[in-house]
Symmetry: D2
Subunit: 422 residues, 4 copies
């Protein structure tokens, strides 16, 4: 990358401050334009706090992040930059501009760069705009911070790696950031899925725990999760088939005997669902995709369901017969959301999946099994959200009306023709 | 079937009258209900005219049609029954109830059954409710009468044959007809596609002609067509590949080298598109499906596009090189709408496909090729329609909220599991 | 191409002679080598007659053909070049080398080039080696001349166009021709299918007629055909489904309701079968592929059958019910072999497909329906052939052991990975 | 089941004896018949030792096993029955026939049933015929005992559960056993795959260890394994893609970015490969199938390779870049053979797969990477076997010529048509 050439000042300190000291976040307005597939992003008041998330352990990304922070600091001094605390050490040496490592003069006024940080919960409450630098995985991870809340608009830069969700290259950042700050950008709306887990034994919504890297359950406890791409259930290490009973809007649809099943947004239609044989769905089609993973059936064609669907999946077992003094046995099933493993599911556990803006079946107690069982109402969460459906989903800064068509051609090699020799 | 047991009167005459003598048609209101996937069909004033379409040349269907007409005549004498004139001869003997062929007494007051008929155009203007008796093909044909106009609500009875679009069995007719007449029915909304044809040589919208059965062009001339299922282009008898250039919203998407391509509604997702490898899409997902037919590419995955898409397909040829003094040569391409062949397409001809309620790109002259070419505005037709989008599409009388789930399981054998021996 | 630079002599005449004047053809020996997938082609006596087939109406191909003939004439004067008579006029001007159009000197000895030609039947009897210049279609057409006989070894040159069956580029011709003449070449064995047609009404093997370009039946009459790629049945122009009853080795396998079905050799696995969803099969796997074309079933997975299979397909109709005084009606079905249309099939007609070297079920009269019906024995033809199975099939000159792996990667873009941006 | 009605004698003891005391095993001859897809099984000398394997922990299967042993004991007293030692306790109570639990008289001569048992290695050396009672899994497990040796003919009985590999129902056992003992049976030949593992770090063939149920490596150590169905590599619990480099006959074919890949016999074409999208291949087609599992590519079509292929798969990593002081990192890859997990593979590990009867490339040291590396010759094992290729593979007792056609129709629901309502 172009190096640190935008900065003309010497930076001698990085000043880390608590994110909690910032003012609360501002939501932009998203305005429809005639003849456009995109919405205009308009700031009702000036944007203040930008949360920058970078791919970890990549020197290129660290350099780019430092360059972006310098640029913001120099050009928009009133804007506050927020970062995760665990990247500050990595970032600091890159942020310092001394006469040795930059073009700053030895006798120049020395400057300090402020950086805000705090817990995930604190950051979420303050973020006006989310910027990611890295690949698709970086966006998925960054957006997962907003798992239980609205997602601010997302600006994603690629750094030369594959990225279906990355419309911008880093070298354009100056122009792109300008446009967004001055409310001249367009966003593509992407829908999120919402997932709840019910444990049979306890008749209650389970607290969801991310698996930490050493395989142990991490301390974080949440009661629902949102997915940008997909939610999948899978046999994992077990070499044996899973038995999953699938219900739609309270009606039994089918039992799948398979490696697993993936429930996907249109955004996720080009991720795992595609590998499993699903169609390519435009992000502007409101729907939920249900794609089987290696089903032991000749006739399990992928389904595209209404976005108002309420999908319930219950873990079954091969035989319903109770083993002496016990339960029908089923191997633990892997649950995975946007590439992150959650805790395993067992026989009779259920997950419920709806669109973030909810299902029309919500109040119909005859159709929704979990409202029968007296568990805390599923809607507690997204009822709140659905009061303000304009903020639901993910608003991704877009380059042009036709990013999608370009993407499936250039990135996925859609319908590539057989080649001519010579 | 149950025979003519509902009638207690002797019918000695069928009185054929001109449909033009009837009052103009009445549109029902379609009202959304909370927690329901269906809409309620409400008649603002009493229903008057029912158009009954039956599968041709089937004795069973003729008998059922006669039974239904007797029932309507006896129970709802103020309702007028409309039929196509070419079935009257087939129907008449079945309608007459004499002491010999029914339980009417020899000295009973003799009664006359009135039947209304006329040209297709005349019938369309008077129909409040459309009833079909036969298979899926019968519905497709019946709805094609309303090709250039709104479609009245459709009630479809099956007579024991396969039918994915047929929620009701004929034996239930008495109850079902009662409910619909008394505004106690529910309808499922299905979307229609709209198709325009442009001939290159003449730079004008082509009049579309159905191929008559002897292969000659029939006299009927129309400028656009609607599809309930699908529109497909195909190589037909020619054993060579077609070359079709596909544009979405004015942007080039891809050139397909294939048997052809099918553009389908969600309703049509279980028709040809399914055979060609497309996903199963709920009729409640607003979208247009683009499914290749035997593409010579490993990577042409079916696409699910937004329902606001404007799809243009231009007939290409293998080589762009002009042959001495001539045109690049391309075999004629078959155009087919809902199972009916239209006239062939040739090199450089175009078809344009939009949803019945139109595309958001309509006015953007930079994106829509045909508005550039000065042809009569494409929108002339459906602009009118879109003033009243509540009437657009097809409102199909539905049995229950879950006809679709039941249908894919029972009729398509979705995800049927491998069988147990014994 | 490189122009006519190999010739140093002036050519002032082309001397067209009857192919019948040549000595009968010589079959090479095909010898297996240890550790090789290919066979060595060994001429037991010197090769004499080379039949050159070129793509029609392509100037580039005509030039290349002339260059090759000059080369053969100059370097191997004892070898006789055979061509189809309808290309002689096209070729002649290109063959003449005068001081004006080449580097030959004005006072040089003038030379005459002999060309042999005759009817297809005559040519077949004399050809030691077949050379094609053009694309895959040219090979298919050239080999179809040998429809009722053994195929000589085939050397195929591409001229810059796509070609899955074309291992060599024309510019290598000098080296490649040298090697083959001196028995230093390797061949890849490809299997052929054999197809018989039985007309129900006449209880006899039907004479097969190619459709001529104007749609009329051409005069040529044959009783069986061989396929290098595939044999397919298809609905053609009719927009309605076909009903085909498929039997394997005398047992009913399935009824297909579909656009049609393709029976393919492994060679043809990368042609139509691939487009219809079939797997990619190495030409060295002895088998027959049965791939449905757009089947109206969720569970018709492509089949790979033993090469000893006897496949019978009988044209069915939607309903078995006889129409008054008539036959169950079925639209004519298109029959196509290696891209050439044969005459249409009708209700109750059958085709039988076996491998060229025959089926093990041949004598088992309980299993083979047509031997029951007293028709002339199916085996009449290939029984003869199978006496000499070493000559059956198609021996294609190969570049290297791994042409196939290279081909699926380079030509088909097999498993192309999603692209990196930048 | 029919209960113990075949026995008329009282059984008061089960006499467990060492299998090592039996005479060595006898191999049958397999004789081709004209016009048959099957081979006749002929015993050159009377059959002596039958090894019976049953599904564990199923009462129904235990009862059936006891019934079969009684039958053999009563009708063929000279035949020795072998069982695994860990099922003797389960079997014993079922084998004893006292006046209380059977129709034997109280004063009848009491009889003893002998059962032979020993280690797996000992049993393998003595088995003339293998009989399985259970499902497909039971056959796979039973045959895996013969992992490093020839497989005796296999007779498989189903007990009412699904079974694609199970031609016979248990209730026919008397007739079926009679036929096989008197050399009047037919067998279907099924091929086996052979798999070798090479650890990069140690440059040697790895000893393969089955994972025991508690996840620890079991003590058993072997150097190669055979597969009846398939060998697959998979990401397992890790939610991230695998990177596998695939070579055919020493040439690089492709890198797959996927859940994994399955290498399958034609027998296994209806197991995992089918779920992953592979074609259905007749067991009589000699080939190896390579089917990707959820590949991140639109163009990875399943491949059908020659049975002489040598397939090498090398574990790759996402980036080839060395991490500071270390190796490119790759998650452990799961290796699974016929439903049994072996120990995990890591970065740079290789597996090699050939057909049991070997590859023609065996001696060509330029093509086979592992012979370059000085590892113990791959062929050590199956060279021995290939001396007697008539005994290689698996000879399954067959019911009729057309078990396969019946199986794909009845068990897999192949090409099931869309159903008629009513
Ligand atoms: N998603 C899938 O389809 C998966 C399939 N498998 C297959 O399971 C096999 C092992 O079988 P089990 O130990 O019983 O595991 P399992 O208990 O997971 O059952 C596998 C199923 O496949 C059936 N099956 C096995 N071999 C078959 C064949 N050759 N043709 C048709 N059906 C067959 C069995 O009857 C059973 O229904 C493996 O060889 C692998 O092919 C293993 C994992 C996932
Ligand atoms: N939708 C499709 O994919 C269709 C394919 N075909 C195939 O076309 C063949 C006849 O070829 P043409 O007369 O040239 O017709 P064509 O002009 O329609 O071209 C067929 C294409 O297939 C290629 N091709 C032919 N044989 C091949 C093979 N064995 N492997 C890979 N590619 C191959 C040709 O290079 C050409 O690009 C038929 O045997 C049939 O397999 C025919 C109709 C439709
Ligand atoms: N290979 C294939 O699958 C082909 C399918 N078609 C389809 O046939 C339709 C026309 O129907 P017909 O005139 O009756 O032709 P047809 O007599 O060829 O029968 C088509 C079949 O599709 C069924 N069908 C029609 N619409 C359906 C829907 N929406 N969902 C599920 N099944 C449906 C019908 O019941 C009938 O079994 C076209 O719109 C096209 O979609 C047409 C040609 C080939
Ligand atoms: N066999 C497969 O295709 C599998 C796919 N996944 C997908 O990976 C996603 C998580 O991504 P990572 O954490 O980066 O895992 P990862 O490191 O395994 O990479 C997944 C790949 O998918 C790409 N990707 C992610 N989202 C995409 C989208 N919406 N459209 C197109 N490509 C996309 C990424 O660029 C990356 O190349 C999951 O949401 C799931 O969809 C997960 C497991 C297996």
């Amino acid at each position: 990358y172009r190096g640190l050439n935008t900065a003309s000042t010497c930076i001698s300190h990085v000043n880390v401050k608590p994110v909690s000291s910032l003012k609360g976040r501002t939501f932009p307005d998203y305005v429809n334009s005639p003849n456009s597939k995109l919405q205009s992003l308009i700031w009702p008041k000036p944007i203040q706090n930008i949360f920058i998330v970078k791919k970890p352990w990549s020197e290129k990304t660290t350099a780019a992040t430092a360059e972006l922070i310098h640029h913001l600091h120099a050009k928009y001094p009133s804007i506050n930059v927020i970062v995760q605390d665990n990247i500050i050490d990595e970032l600091k040496p890159r942020l310092l501009l001394t006469p040795e490592n930059s073009s700053c003069k030895i006798d120049e006024t020395h400057d300090t760069i402020p950086l805000f940080t705090g817990t995930e919960e604190e950051i979420v409450k303050k973020t006006d705009l989310l910027i990611t630098l890295g690949g698709d995985g970086t966006i998925l991870r960054a957006i997962s911070f907003f798992n239980t809340d609205y997602v601010p608009p997302v600006l994603s830069f690629s750094l030369g790696t594959l990225g279906f969700l990355l419309p911008f290259e880093f070298k354009e950042y100056s122009k792109v950031v300008d446009e967004i700050i001055h409310s001249r950008s367009k966003v593509l709306y992407r829908t999120r899925l919402e997932c709840y887990i019910t444990k049979r034994s306890k008749n209650q919504i389970k607290t969801i725990q991310e698996k930490s890297d050493d395989g142990k359950d991490a301390p974080k406890q949440i009661t629902k999760v949102h997915a940008m791409n997909d939610i999948f259930l899978h046999r994992g290490d077990s070499p044996h088939l899973t038995y999953l009973d699938i219900y739609i809007d309270g009606d039994f649809l089918t039992r799948t005997t398979a490696d697993g099943v993936v429930l996907s947004t249109p955004t996720g239609s080009t991720a795992y669902s595609l590998s499993a044989g699903g169609s390519i769905v435009s992000p502007r089609v409101p729907c939920i995709m249900l794609t089987p993973i290696c089903p032991r059936s000749l006739s399990f064609r992928p389904l595209v369901l209404p976005h108002s669907s309420h999908i319930k999946i219950k873990i079954g077992s091969k035989s319903k017969k109770k083993v002496a003094g016990g339960e029908p046995q089923a191997k633990p099933i892997k649950l995975n959301i946007d590439g992150v493993s959650l805790n395993d599911l067992e026989y009779d556990d259920e997950i419920h999946i709806v669109n973030e803006v909810g299902t029309i079946y919500l109040d119909s107690n005859s159709n929704i099994p979990y409202s029968k069982t007296g568990v805390p109402p599923l809607d507690a969460g997204y009822k709140g959200l659905s009061n303000n459906t304009k903020l639901a989903g993910i608003h991704c800064l877009a380059r042009s009306e036709n990013d999608w068509t370009a993407g499936i051609n250039e990135l996925l090699g859609f319908n590539s023709s057989f080649k001519l020799r010579n």
